[in-house]
């Protein structure tokens, strides 16, 4: 027997290192042994204007990131109108299931908050009220230097609690474009920032900012910008590429693109190019707190399974319909009336298993017998698979497989808007990528694809790969949506017909059920695992992949 060549040894070592990396959880999210017995709760007002209550919110959010760095101490009660609607239910959950007793302070009470938590800070960073981006730079500095974020109106308040200005950004960026501002921040602070987290502090632009994720970014010493992925902004894009390229493999991009600069498609495509995982909710609140809360000891993630991988189902000559809600649980309709009325599928953002365990435990425990969970989106985090280089795909898939097993998920949802969207271009996968999914996720019951309708279909080893045949727009009235479904039923005359329907965000389950009730032809609404098993046994859909001749519309 001869010794293996050195190159093989290196390859083996490299493979082991990659596997270890893939299974690793991003740093800095160590769970406490148990939830704290007490914590402080501060309600926030509804005003997120730069010239309104945002300054006090920014102060409190930065203080929260610092105060929670070593233990969960401060929870902010965002207003009831907040997009992520689980803020309030989660308070009750933490009280009920973890025994946390919240000590409630007054609305936006920065004075009382500083009295309690100023000791976690070494001073303040002063942002420039005249330069919006200076606040985003201040978030970076807050994390790196352990400083609370204030504007000039709050300096006296901070000083009263012993916090003096350490960094003053007033006047530093006057008249400068964002790429110059963030280049300065990059030169000054980037090397001291986390390589596991980068924050895109985008979303709303101009007079409003909703930096709900900033506490977690500050806690993790992340670098913050709202740099554009739009090729029209060449200098910003160049710096953004430098930042993303410097992060750890398969690390996390928190937040959301700036509505004023680029598009979701441009941003998501670029993040995918670097093989990073996007957690795309810029206003996801309290993660510095919830990421440290363990699951309750007896809890295990348990889905509502209706079949096993060995189950065989025989489809009847009818129309089977399955409704799937994505868009991040908690910004949709979980708390709205109608849940439980019909079988319904919910896409779980899988990284919340370590980033936001109590939120996922809340959803799993609150589910009705008609709620079924699946993994997404395209893998861990939100990504477009066509944008991910082939050599970066396996390490992400390894994380995805582990999270799916942990969360008891057996179906993976895929979405790719790198070459089009619901309007133009295509949202399909070439055969090579479908091959890759079947190879990397061998234990799934099947895959579903799209956001709007798409046309990638396959069936291998009893595991269907189906695309959405219908997208329920928020604007679509019930009578038109019913006509749409009836048209699909006409257009697909073979029975069984498998009609997979994506339900956009705030469409309620009541609306979906009403639409189904309007149909002149009976349909059978089934959970997704049953739907896939039925589709595995009766392939009335054609195998189809993205074709070289398909239209391509890169994100404008």
């Amino acid at each position: 027997m001869t010794a293996p060549p050195l190159s093989r040894v290196f390859s083996l070592l490299l493979a082991c290192a990659c596997a270890t990396l893939a299974l690793a959880q991003p740093a800095g999210t160590v769970k406490a042994a148990r939830a704290p017995a007490t914590a402080t709760l501060i309600p926030l007002s509804e005003n997120w204007q730069m010239t309104g209550d945002l300054p006090v919110h920014a102060l409190l959010i930065s203080l929260q990131g610092l105060a929670n760095r070593t233990a969960p101490r401060l929870y902010l009660e965002y207003p009831k109108t907040w997009q992520w609607e689980i803020v309030h239910p989660l308070i009750g959950f933490l009280e009920r299931r973890h025994g946390v007793k919240f000590d409630r302070l007054g609305l936006d009470d920065a004075d009382a908050a500083l009295t309690r938590f100023a000791a976690h800070s070494k001073g303040v960073v002063v942002w420039d009220k005249a330069v919006r981006s200076s606040l985003i730079v201040a978030f970076t500095i807050a994390g790196v230097e352990d400083l609370v974020v204030v504007n000039e109106d709050q300096i006296a308040l901070a000083a009263a609690h012993g916090l003096k200005p350490v960094v003053d950004l007033r006047g530093r960026f006057t008249g400068q474009p964002d790429h110059v501002i963030y280049q300065w921040a990059y030169d000054q602070y980037w090397t001291r920032c986390s390589r596991d987290y980068y924050v895109v502090m985008g979303g709303e632009a101009g007079a409003v900012m909703q930096p709900g994720i900033a506490d977690f970014g500050i806690q993790q010493r992340a670098f913050f910008t709202d740099l554009s992925a739009n090729p029209k902004h060449a200098e910003e894009l160049a710096l953004l590429k430098r930042i993303l390229g410097g992060q750890n493999p398969a690390s996390i991009v928190l937040g959301w693109h700036s509505y004023a600069k680029d598009t979701e498609g441009q941003h998501t495509t670029l993040v995918g190019n670097y093989g990073l995982m996007m957690e795309g909710l810029h206003n996801l609140p309290n993660v510095s707190f919830t990421s440290q809360i363990p699951l309750t000891p007896e809890f295990k993630f348990a889905n509502n399974h209706h079949v096993t991988s060995a189950t065989t189902l025989r489809a009847e000559p009818t129309v089977y319909l399955c409704a799937v809600a994505t868009d991040s649980m908690g910004i949709g309709t979980w708390t709205k009336p109608g849940r439980g009325r019909i079988p319904y599928t919910w896409q779980v953002l899988m990284n919340w298993a370590w980033m936001n365990p109590p939120a996922l435990q809340f959803f799993y425990e609150d589910k009705s017998t008609n709620d079924y969970f699946i993994g997404g989106l395209s893998g861990p985090g939100y990504s477009y698979p066509k944008s991910i280089p082939a050599d970066k795909f396996p390490s992400l898939a390894a994380i995805g497989r582990r999270l799916m097993a942990q969360l008891d998920l057996r179906v993976l949802e895929i979405m790719d808007y790198s070459e089009g969207n619901r309007h133009v271009g295509n949202t399909d996968l070439p055969k090579e990528l479908v091959d890759r999914y079947y190879h990397e996720y061998p234990d799934v019951l099947g895959f579903i694809n799209g956001y709007g309708s798409a046309r990638t279909f396959d069936l291998r080893d009893g595991k269907p790969f189906l695309s959405y045949d219908y997208y329920l727009s928020l604007d679509r009235p019930e009578e038109e949506a019913a006509a749409d479904l009836e048209e699909l039923i006409q257009l697909n005359p073979a029975r069984p017909y498998f009609l997979l329907m994506h339900v956009r965000e705030r469409n309620t389950i009541e609306k979906v059920a009403n639409i189904i009730d309007r149909l002149s032809e009976p349909v059978e609404v089934v959970p997704l695992d049953v739907f896939l098993k039925l589709a595995a046994g009766a392939k009335t859909y054609r195998t189809h992949y993205q074709q070289p001749t398909d239209p391509v519309n890169l994100n404008p």
Binding site: T263, N421, R422, H423, V424, G452, S453, A454, R455, F457, S467, Y468, D469, Y470, Y471, L472, S473, D475, R476, P477, E479, E480, A483, D484, E486, E487, L488, Q490, L491, N492, P493, A494, Y497, F498, S520, T540, Y541, R542, H544, P551, N553, P556
Partner: protein
């Protein structure tokens, strides 16, 4: 006394002479309040050009930063106009795409002295189960005062008519 002139009058009403003067010609802006819901599109502009037997329908659909433009040249005198179709834009919520040879066959006719343009369209849509022939009857009608255009579409596969209302662009 006028009875012998009636057939002549009918011929004149259907003739290109009237078509050329059709009040349909012009640019028309979408009225969402009076129309079938348009999503995923947000804007819709129609521009009709009439030159004798030749009619051009320019359809411009928009949504945010994305848009779709389709220009259809028709000859009313021809029994069959074969028109290439790059994208079936009529309902992007449903999984139906232009299929077959990616063309549509269109027969056009003037009615009511050029006030109404009627199109009979045959095309093939590709769905998850395969190709399906579809017929669409489209009426472009102008109001009596010439200010409003109503496009009514009856698709053989859809139980409800699609009605889009436009105002003449100023």
């Amino acid at each position: 006394m006028f009875r012998p002139l009636l057939p002549l009058l009918c011929c004149l009403l259907a003739s290109p002479v009237f078509a050329a003067a059709s009040t349909l010609a012009g640019t028309w802006r979408f009225d969402p309040r009076r129309s079938t819901e348009l999503s995923p599109w947000q804007d819709y502009t129609l521009t009709l050009t009439v030159d004798g037997d030749r009619v051009t329908i320019l359809q411009q659909l928009g949504a945010g930063r994305r848009g779709f433009t389709d220009k259809m040249n028709l000859n009313v005198a021809q029994p069959d106009n074969v028109v290439p179709v790059a994208l079936w834009a009529d309902n992007r919520h449903i999984g139906a795409y232009i299929g077959g040879d990616k063309t549509k066959h269109v027969r056009a006719e003037w009615l009511d002295g050029g006030r109404i343009l009627r199109l009979h369209t045959d095309l093939v849509l590709s769905t998850s189960q395969g190709d399906r022939a579809v017929n669409i009857l489209s009426d472009y009608k102008v109001s009596a005062n010439g200010a409003v255009l109503t496009l009514t579409e009856l698709r053989s596969t859809r139980n409800r008519p699609v009605v889009y209302v436009f105002h003449r662009a100023k």
